[in-house]
Amino acid sequence: MKYVDEYRDSKLIARQAREIREAVDPGHTYSFMEVCGTHTMNIFRFGIRELLPANIRLISGPGCPVCVTPNEFIDKAIALAGIKNIIIATFGDMLKVPGSYSSLEKERGAGASVKIVYSSIDALDLAKRNPEKDVVFLGIGFETTAPTVAQSILMAKRAGVKNYSVLCGHKTMPEALSVLTEAPKLDIDGFLLPGHVSAIIGVKPYRFLAARGKRCVVAGFEPLDIMQAISMLIKQKRPGIEIQYTRIIKRGGNVLARKSIKKVFEEKDSIWRGIGKIRKSGLVIKSKFAEFDAEKKFRVQIPGARDHAGCICGDVIKGVKTPLECKLFRKTCAPEHPVGACMVSSEGTCSAYYKYG
């Protein structure tokens, strides 16, 4: 497959591995956090840890959208799914995430209408095709998915669609990274920054990381990208922000996409599963677009959210612990019957450890 195979060439990857081995200081242990869930998944899928010297430690970060979505959001989605005439439209990997008391998959089994879609635009189409129903799209994800959801709302407004709304759980990345650099237990030398988030926001929002002495490389997702980015992190002389993923990323990001985010959403404090409340790290729908805000449109009441005893997803998301340190891992918690969100999402750290560990 063109533009993919080139980045999986074992000879080029072996050359990067050699360069990394030659460049490392054998007396230092390097801790790098790969922020994005797709990085985590591909590091496992392609066996990249095996290619690295033992003194490079890769820590999985908070960049799996499903994993950082709190129980409260799932509980609201489930409550909405219980309303007659509502169709919940969602990305596939939200289906199995356990909320406080149930999951969308269980509710679907019990008769709720829950449909998997591949984008918010598909959800909008679903609404147009079912005028007698109310379609609620579960808007989760970072700066990568937020512009498309904003677009769906703008398109719905323009077309006068009245039966489409979004339950908004969007989050933004830089604030979470800021919290992680302040976490006392995490001693991170550098970050493999998320490729697709950066395609939207550019590199400016990460400047504080370099100022705090962290090396940063914006990395692509193919094995050669990841190896080259690690090599760049090791060779970086002074903490700064470099771009490895130059075929996609512009330093200034995508102005148009940011404009549509700004038009529809505004910043708000947001709760991250495992991390807690982070200042200005979430997006909510502006009151101007309230008719497309499922929360305002339906005003569902939910009982207090609760966490699952014994689940250490929080520490896993922060990178403080690995899934292997969890008592539930592979026992009570497995992809078939997940306890924590990190086991559900195909990009979740626990799922990656389970599948490829």
Partner: protein, 319 residues
């Protein structure tokens, strides 16, 4: 699913034949050895590129008999129809069953039809049972040795992607046709060749990864796969990249995976490749004594990882 079968079905009906956990039960009746199997088909959509629920219900059962070294002979046919199903659709499916039975060389000799209220089944469910005569009984996982090659008869994942893309209306998947086909002809050629075939399965539900994990489970050997040699068509690869699916776990309905003795590898490969269904056959890995009970993958990137049993269904990811 595996756990459900073990904890409930296997426990309650426990007997020596069931315990072998083969695709077909091997029965000794007098001096003859028969293979007996059953399968229910509930595919959605009922028509997909490359086949439909009718041909699937014939070939699926034919293949379950064939991989046990049996010549498929007779099929039963049970149909459960949802009230209100368009008669034309039913006729199309029945004709497809007839055609598939003719191609596979089996006879439908008994059957049952029920109509249930609307909403109690999804359009149509089909069950087929199959009876075949065993002509090859030299399969032996105990005889498997380190270095024995693992062969697959063609590209993987085409059935799963064909069904998924039709169901979800994915434009990029429309080029992918299901690999659905009766394997009895190809398998007979292989098993009648002078070669030692030690293991044979069709990688249906759970795909190649699950089939190989079942082969090594509890054994004193493992399997090492070379990702670069696993045949995958570009359509399937594209769909998998887009949706975040792992092709190793996608169902095939017209492929067979074999472990043969090392000395016979090229002979078996030649026989398979001469059949139209096996032109793209490849050696994809080998038996290894190092990783007992596990399947390892040498990735195309030069790394290495464990290929585990699939648990639950794969769900398309968010981004």
């Amino acid at each position: 699913m595996h756990r459900l079968i073990d904890s409930l079905i296997m426990k309650e009906f426990d007997n020596a034949i069931l315990r072998q956990k083969k695709d077909s039960a091997i029965l000794k009746i007098g001096s003859r050895k028969l293979a007996f199997t059953t399968d229910s088909y509930v595919v959605n959509p009922i028509f997909f590129p490359g086949g439909d629920i009718g041909s699937l219900s014939v070939y699926g059962t034919v293949n379950d008999l064939s991989v046990c070294g049996a010549r498929p002979l007779y099929l039963s046919l049970g149909i459960i129809i949802e009230e209100g199903l368009d008669k034309k659709i039913l006729e199309r499916i029945v004709k497809s069953i007839k055609n598939a039975a003719r191609i596979a060389g089996v006879k439908i000799v008994t059957g049952d039809t029920k109509v249930v209220e609307r909403g109690l089944c999804d359009k149509i469910f089909i069950n087929t049972s199959g009876l075949g005569e065993v002509y090859y009984d030299k399969f032996s996982v105990d005889a498997v040795e380190a270095g024995d090659p693992v062969i697959i008869s063609g590209p993987i994942g085409e059935h799963a992607i064909s069904v998924l893309s039709k169901r979800e209306g994915l434009a990029f998947g429309t080029k992918v046709r299901s690999d659905l086909a009766p394997l009895n002809g190809l398998i007979q050629k292989v098993l009648k060749a002078p070669a030692c075939v030690k293991f044979m399965r069709d990688p249906t539900r759970g795909g190649l990864a699950t089939t190989l994990n079942e082969a090594v489970s509890g054994r004193r050997f493992g399997i090492e796969l070379d990702e670069k040699n696993v045949p995958i068509s570009s359509g399937v690869r594209q769909a998998c990249e887009m949706l975040g699916l792992d092709p190793l776990y996608l169902a095939c309905e017209g492929r067979v995976v074999l472990i043969v003795s090392k000395k016979d590898a090229s002979r078996v490969l030649d026989v398979i490749r001469k059949d139209t269904l096996g032109r793209a056959a490849k050696v994809i890995g080998r038996v290894a004594k190092d990783y007992r009970g596990r399947v390892l993958l040498n990735t195309i990137a030069g790394g290495r990882r464990i290929v585990d049993m699939l648990s639950g269904e794969q769900l398309p990811r968010i981004c």
